[in-house]
Symmetry: C2
Subunit: 402 residues, 2 copies
């Protein structure tokens, strides 16, 4: 009989609204396995392994785990840390010195690279340490998985945010006719696309989406805004924070950066830059919303489908590593095609197929104009948002005059 070994789990990269749901469910699953002795959480991801700082997770009671699953952000602390030469061996040595038999790492493509390097180091010395990664990213840009835990909730936040905030612009179009909403998503347009999921009619906002996969031409942008303003009466623009201009510089950086009267560099960023353009070139009042980290983490907008899947990948990572002895793998989400409703299950893929890879928004999800979404994208994404979005009512019946 194999003696029980410790399990170490860490969280890495940008936090999400459901990354703790994966952690909580992995702890629950690990507690059920007799092959697992202690359960340790690495503080601040791999930094807690390299710096020998972990915390005991067996002390958490059922109520704690339930609260943990509903707490946004990475409760163990996270990091953005790339292993340098020799550090994978150092991390492995520390894990083995602790008595760890299992290392689970919840994160995205950078974290998969960390996991992969440690798995290779273990293989090189004939260690039986099992390394399994758990997917997590609001950006939804990991290959090999149908989608990523964290995306559904961020997508729900943005679909609601654009729907709600656009109603404000629609209600008072003479005051601020143009609204720009800046969204995240790194170099992939998955979140920008999600901002349109509240649309039910052709003229519904957002009217123009600028995806990070395509450069933004300021002249074309201004012509777009003017055209929508003429036809709809107000304009809601969504811009990815990483959109680049025709020269390849991020909007609001490079040539667009300014200095104030005291010589401080001013931050511009994509949305303030586009607002300035609209105001100066078209003479239209414009404002912007930049939800920033709120879109990662809104506890009020969690998709129950997303939370459930985050739990599922956490549990199945434990089962893969502990029960099946898998290593150098990431758990994936697999969409089940049978039946009419949405359902998903999990699979496994090699970490070297994830590490440092990224998946842009496919062309078939972008409308012909390049600034909207397709029905295919709606079919793909809407189930991930959980409960149906609330439908606003409009009082645009016939006008009575006298």
């Amino acid at each position: 009989m194999v003696s029980a070994k410790h399990l170490v789990i860490g969280q890495s990269g940008g936090a999400t609204a459901v990354i703790n749901a994966s952690l909580a469910e992995a702890i629950r699953a690990a507690r059920e396995r007799k092959e697992v002795d202690q359960i340790f959480g690495a503080r601040y991801g791999i930094q807690g392994v390299l710096g020998k700082q972990v915390t005991d997770l067996r002390v958490l009671g059922d109520d704690d785990l339930q609260a943990l699953a509903r707490t946004p952000s990475a409760a163990l602390g996270s990091c953005r840390y790339r292993l340098s030469e020799g550090e994978a061996e150092g991390a492995l040595a520390n894990l083995l010195a602790l008595g760890a038999g299992y290392f689970l790492y919840i994160g995205g493509n950078d974290s998969a690279d960390t996991g992969h390097q440690i798995a290779l180091a273990a293989e090189a010395i004939g260690s039986d340490l099992r390394v399994v990664c758990v997917p997590k990213t609001i950006d939804n840009d990991l290959p090999e998985t149908d989608h990523c835990p964290g995306y559904g909730s961020a997508a729900r936040f943005l679909a609601l945010a654009v729907q709600d905030s656009a109603l404000c612009t629609e209600s008072i179009p003479t005051h601020y006719p143009v609204k720009v909403i800046e969204v995240m998503g790194r170099d992939a347009g998955w979140l920008a696309a999600a901002s349109a999921l509240g649309q039910t009619r052709e003229q519904d906002p957002p009217h123009l989406i600028y995806f990070p996969e395509r450069p933004l031409d300021p002249d074309e942008f201004l012509a777009d805004v003017e055209r929508v303003h003429r036809s709809v009466g107000y304009v809601v623009v969504v811009v990815a924070e990483t959109v680049r201009d025709l020269d390849g510089s991020p909007l609001g950086e490079g040539g667009h950066q300014g200095m104030d009267a005291f010589g401080h560099r001013l931050l511009a960023g994509a949305a303030p830059y586009l607002v300035s353009l609209v105001r100066d070139q078209l003479g239209l009042r414009a404002r912007y919303d930049k939800p920033g980290d709120l879109q990662r983490m809104s506890s009020a907008c969690v998709s129950e489908v997303d939370r459930m899947e985050a739990e599922m990948v956490g549990r199945d990572a434990v089962i893969a590593a502990v029960a099946h002895g898998q290593t150098d793998k990431m758990v994936t989400l697999v969409r089940e095609q049978a039946g009419s409703g949405y359902a998903s299950t999990t699979g496994l893929t090699d970490l070297d197929r994830i590490a440092n890879q990224h998946r842009p928004l496919p062309a078939e999800f972008v409308s012909e104009s390049g600034k909207g979404i397709t029905a295919q994208f709606r079919d793909y994404a809407l189930p991930l948002l959980g409960e149906p979005l609330p439908a606003p009512i409009r009082l645009d019946g016939p006008v009575v005059t006298w």
Copy 2:
């Protein structure tokens, strides 16, 4: 027997998450009164009266009214319009020509001015038109009322937003140790204060709140940020978008405005300006969230207490105007002092006590440092947010090393 007359209702000023709840309930109440004949909604506030554009609200069914009460923003359209010389008389003439006996106007202090002028014009010609205003503003800056419908939901959004977004900063403090969150509230600090309502421990974010009632000294700001960074390890700053510097200029305007390389004026604004300061003067990485109009209108963060009170003031405005023949009044919210739980009822006040007035955050609600809130403010504000805020769990147990 008095013959039934028409009721005209409009929405004005910045929209809120519950302004349609007031509208829906006013329609329900008006349908129950035999003194009311037709029920008309003015499109875009007083502009729909001046321009003779109203819509029939009797056509709405019970399901429509239920959906309306849950739709954020002003479904009739809103305006920011100040009556000029003679326009009150013009609006009155249009209302009387339509056959209106009752005019209800949902809005803030500017809207109260509009209502007051029309009421005075009616009195001057001996018309029995009844004018009653319904309070609405996320800014909570109306005098005479304990609080304003719309505030509780915006306050709930901001308390949750700061709690959630700060957890992100706390989880990865070495990456972006400083976060600035820019909030609304015009010249009053009610919303800025609400951002701290998620605090449960002394060191909880937001660590520094810059209220619009006090100028911001950049040197003091930098010293504050440095001190909190040293003691807590990360810093969450809340800044009102209207905060002024020592010269009285809005932060990010005046001397702080920049030009980009192409000669476009750059928008700075309070949060981008403070982020630039932190980065350039302290060498700390900083980022900002600017929820913008999302804080007005988040359908996911509506306070049920706020929605219920928005309905109550809508209903009681109809009763005041129609059943009691009141005019030149605004409905107020009155906090009931008896018993242990929170309860409210309504009152009436004269419109000239509201028109163009505003109520700053009282000194006893601001902590001694000038950058936090007091227990008194918590007692005042927390009941308005509805359900208790979710409590995040922290995994900050003892560190195990080996």
